[in-house]
Symmetry: C2
Subunit: 329 residues, 2 copies
């Protein structure tokens, strides 16, 4: 186990060194500084790690694909830079967002060039694999944009169905995990069946992770959770929990819920307590956990059915993803 | 001559049909309608036409590359959609800009997915040519972003040098014409030397076209010019004309120029007349024409040195670009 752990640390260190050493461009500085800035804010680097581990399950020299793996992280951070403008978000990982630190125009244009640089990094693969990989990447990138637009649309809608919500989070966050895994497998020359299964595994656990996010926002242990518990409730965010509660609340419960998520302003603590109480009465926590578990079970069954030559990388990937399943913050 | 003209009309018609028939995606509509909208606003389609004619100089079946040629137009319109947000522009080709008709978030996100779709269209080429074409496209796309950032930087600077200005317009507008031409040549299997010359030809005439734009904005025939003459003067836009005037104006002239481009508000007509008079005194028109002609001469000399099998397409491309050189609006 400790050997596996070291492997992950070694991979992450190699990846981090590669990211720090990469030059996106130099002039004009207003265009390239924000890219270095957002990439330096850290994060778990989970997406490129998935690519590298997926590759390592079939082929040993993961150092060969550090640049294309990094493309996935650069693309992810491009979406964050643009989403933060759209969501008017002041902070990203505890630091000022690019549009706050510079301005919206800079965040638009730096983001654009980030997307171009991600494509540049994708070119650093076996040319024979370029058409298939770019096709998958383009499809993924378009779906991520579609998911973001659906998410913005949902904000203005009274009612969002459970299916529509699941499909939105699939597009906005899960398909990129699926791509990250399939991409690594393709680059390693894995069997097509395995590559597709890894995509499905990524999408399923990705949906599960987002449901877990929704759940933790309300039910996390205050001591362990990094941010304010109940943030989604305060902002009336249409999470899986609220969508199910609106669907299932009847009579007095429904009136109470409508009261708290109406336009009036409330004491934040009071609102979080009141809405959480309604969730508890309806059993929203168990419902969400059940749905989340369905996706995790489906995903890990797909993962278990792979035919992988390098068991150590397989075990490491399993542990990494299970840690994410079990995280408490 | 009339046969050539018909050829261009036929090519443009084929291109237009292809553009109209292309589906960028359907759901969510908020994401894809703005793409159809901006692509339907027309324009001369000069960039994909350059790609198709460049191809046709070396190979006959230009219909085979309508999709990759369209990628150049989609990329160009993506930059327009995002530039219009940054420039706070209300109108594009006489119609409301996307961020005005919808909103800035939609223009950001639709633009993002447009860029992804452009890459999708680029995939529709011989896979052997994909690495080289994508590398050139990425470099071009990054330079276009760099040019836009320089342009925005210039707005806040007191003094911009002639060289810095020429380099900005090279990046912002000329390299894409160069890419459009080189791309067509590469797809047709033209000799590498010719492909590179076509890139240089495009860049040189592209810089010339922008200098012509700057010139027409002040010296166009009011009857023939589509928009208000003197718009750049009114907005103190740092065109080649103003940059040279600021460089060359001395004594009283300099004071007068500084007066008119200071922060005070003036009658527009009066300001245009006064600044034009200063330009006339310094001989800015002749200076700009000379600089412009240098780029055109260099470009057309490169074009003349090509070794082209299909003379009809060569003559058509020559006529098309010369018409742009001689345009009066």
């Amino acid at each position: 186990m400790s050997e596996n752990k070291n492997d992950v640390n070694k991979i992450l260190q190699d990846l981090e060194n590669h990211i720090q050493g990469y030059s996106y461009g130099t002039s004009p500085v207003e265009l390239y500084e924000p890219i270095s800035y957002i990439m330096s804010l850290g994060g778990k680097r989970i997406r490129p790690l998935l690519t590298l581990l997926s590759y390592a399950m079939y082929k040993e020299d993961y150092q060969e694909i550090l640049t294309p793996a990094m493309a996935v992280e650069v693309f992810h951070n491009f979406t964050l830079m643009h989403d933060d403008i759209m969501d008017n978000a002041p902070l990203r990982r505890g630091k000022a967002t690019v549009h706050e630190k510079w301005n919206a125009n800079t965040a638009i244009l730096s983001g654009d060039v980030m997307l171009v640089r991600a494509y540049d990094m994708l070119l650093d693969i076996n040319p024979n694999l370029l058409p298939i990989c770019l096709k998958l990447f383009n499809q993924t990138a378009a779906e991520v944009c579609e998911g973001q637009q659906h998410d913005m649309n949902f904000e203005k809608m009274d009612t969002v169905s459970e299916n529509a919500y699941i499909d939105m989070i699939r597009q906005k966050t899960a398909v990129l995990l699926g791509f990250a895994l399939e991409f690594g497998a393709i680059l390693a020359g894995a069997p097509t069946d395995d590559a597709r299964k890894l995509y499905d595994f990524g999408v399923n656990i990705g949906i599960g992770f987002q449901l877990k996010d929704d759940l933790l926002d309300v039910y996390a242990d205050k001591e362990k959770f990094g941010k304010q518990v109940g943030g989604d409730i305060i902002s009336n965010k249409k999470t899986f929990l609220l969508i199910k509660a609106k669907e299932l609340a009847k009579g007095e419960q429904r009136n109470a819920l409508e009261h708290w998520i109406g336009g009036a302003s409330f004491d934040k603590e009071e609102k979080v307590q009141a809405v959480t109480k309604i969730y508890d009465q309806i059993g929203i926590k168990a419902l969400t956990e059940k749905k989340m578990q369905e996706f995790f079970d489906k995903g890990f069954a797909q993962f278990a059915s792979l035919n992988v030559p390098h068991a150590d990388a397989y075990n490491t990937l399993l542990k990494i993803t299970q840690d994410l399943v079990n995280r408490e913050k």
